[in-house]
Amino acid sequence: MDILIPIITMSALGFLFSLGLVFAYKKLRVQEDPRVLLVMEILPQVNCGACGYSGCRAFAEAIVKGDVPANGCPVGGEEVAHQLVKTLGLEAVEVIKKVARVHCRGTVSATKESGLYRGIFTCYASHLVGGQKQCSYGCLGFGDCVEACPFDAIYMGEDGLPIVMEDKCTACGKCVDACPRNIIELHNIKQNILVFCRSLDRGPTARKACKNACIACGICVRACPEAIVLENNLAKIVHFKNIPRDKIPDIEKCPTKAIGLIHKENKKQEDDR
């Protein structure tokens, strides 16, 4: 008897409880698209929001619904896009790997200070009082972009300019948003030539403020008019694929080296690290 009562009680409890669960399972189950979970597993799960959704989960739901193409996640890049295509049976899409690039060479030594800045040490704050450099377009060097990067892909170089580690950069665009002077832009990683200046000042003014400024002398434009134009005192690469290899040395004759090959630069960056 002593043994039977507990056994019965327990079995009864188990029975009742399982009935409850069966009931719950049948009646109150929430339907969730299992593919969302699959997609979640593929996504990088950093919830950075670069895709334009409020997080990886929202993106997963969107892609399952078909609202975004498979390459919608800039962070995941090619590999994730590829897997998504495979898993969901979507149409294959082309993925251009992009990276962030800094359009300024206004290092501490190259530029002149405008005043003794006193205040909050962020680029944005300094920008709001006009910036502590005479160039009103250049990098302010407090590293808002570094702070903003969720992947630790930017660091502050010794000469006061941010350096992007291209292997870590996922093109999430946070730094682009963070920079008050719009110095950072996302580019196709294959683009190897860049204008490292944003100054719209006239040549003499620009040069006075920064040794490495684009002075709108037009040497590069003359070297390759198909791809480079001058706009508001600044050289602009319209379409980098139009630059033939053999023109590069001519372009690099830029007196302030405001335009040039990025990969040479990159080598130097590698060494800096």
């Binding site: 405008s114 800045y117 006193r118 709001l128 009082v129 006009g130």
Partner: protein, 325 residues
């Protein structure tokens, strides 16, 4: 342009009031002096050693943390650690062994202040965290009292006026300390709390310098008066008078010097008022119904817990704002 000719580039405003954090802190230190001198008079070397131990330990602990966190040691000179040390010492019984005081000062600065990020970030009043730690760690030593030098008696154990009230039924027995003694300091108790007069002199200086928010002492004293007054009116043979409660124990020092700690009190006017009234009521409750004779420390710490919520939910009305009912 030469760099040294550069103009300053900054955001407005370009004028600043002359007051600064160290100035406020040193004002408080000066205002504590009358009470410190009084306690040195009442307890002589015992008091001196406690003050020295607490202040020095507080400074060393602060320096250690600043060093560990790779911050500039300049902040030592802002005076806040000195205040913490002094106030801690002022809340200790004169007979407390110096090594206990040292532990208290370490805890006050370490757990009460630096773990939160140092000056300005702490949630709880550091000196009282130190005292609460000691009270809980060494309850016996923290409730053993010696008489002041002005009372020429020589007993090993001695009770404070509030202790008498709680455990000896002093009102009924008629052994309650006279108000005059409470006011001038001819009683036992913690270093800093014996003489209400000396504390009030310091408090006047604080008011003169506008270093503290008047709402806090006024709110505490009023609410305590009302709370204890009600019971006193009901049964004056059992409960002590409100004036006794205001003058006894740590209330004056607590209301003027500890509850007013800016870091750990609310920043909004309404919040501050609620905070002060809360302290007064809690002090009354603990003194009349709690297990401890004195509740100032616990009341302030308890209200410290509520301060973030008070700040959150008592945002002042913005000019032109219409509040939803």
């Amino acid at each position: 342009m030469m760099p040294n000719n550069l103009f300053i580039l900054q955001s407005s405003p370009h004028f600043k009031d002359k007051d600064s954090v160290p100035k406020i802190m040193y004002t408080v230190i000066i205002s504590l002096m009358p009470a410190i001198l009084a306690s040195l008079y009442f307890f002589r070397f015992k008091a001196l050693f406690l003050y020295l131990a607490c202040v020095i330990t507080a400074l060393i602990t602060e320096a250690l943390f600043l060093f560990l966190r790779k911050k500039s040691l300049d902040s030592l000179s802002d005076g806040s650690a000195i205040i913490t040390g002094l106030l801690l010492a002022m809340t200790l019984p004169p007979s407390l062994p110096v090594e206990h005081a040292v532990i208290g000062a370490v805890m006050a600065i370490a757990i009460g202040k630096q773990v939160f990020g140092g000056l300005g970030h702490n949630i709880f009043n550091p000196a009282l965290v130190g005292r609460a730690f000691l009270q809980t760690a060494f309850p016996v030593a923290m409730t053993t009292w010696i008489p002041p030098i002005t009372q020429k008696i020589n007993t090993a154990t001695f009770a404070t006026p509030l202790g008498n009230l709680k455990f000896q039924d002093a009102v009924a027995q008629g052994t309650l300390a006279p108000l005059k003694d409470l006011f001038f300091g001819n009683i036992g108790g913690c270093l800093g709390e014996t003489s209400a007069l000396a504390l009030l002199i310091g408090a006047c200086y604080l008011f003169y310098k506008r270093a503290i928010d008047w709402r806090i002492p006024v709110g505490i004293i009023c609410s305590l008066t009302v709370f204890t007054g009600i019971f006193w009116l009901i049964n004056p043979n059992k409960y002590a008078s409100p004036l006794f409660h205001v003058l006894a124990g740590g209330l004056i020092i607590g209301a003027f010097f500890m509850a007013t700690d800016m870091v750990t009190s609310p920043i909004t006017p309404l919040g501050t008022t609620i905070y002060a009234v809360g302290i007064g009521v809690l002090v009354g409750t603990i003194r009349l119904f709690g297990g401890f004779p004195e509740g100032v420390m616990y009341s302030i710490l308890l209200m410290n817990i509520v301060v973030p919520l008070l700040n959150q939910f008592t945002r002042p009305r913005i000019l032109g704002e219409r509040r939803k009912k």
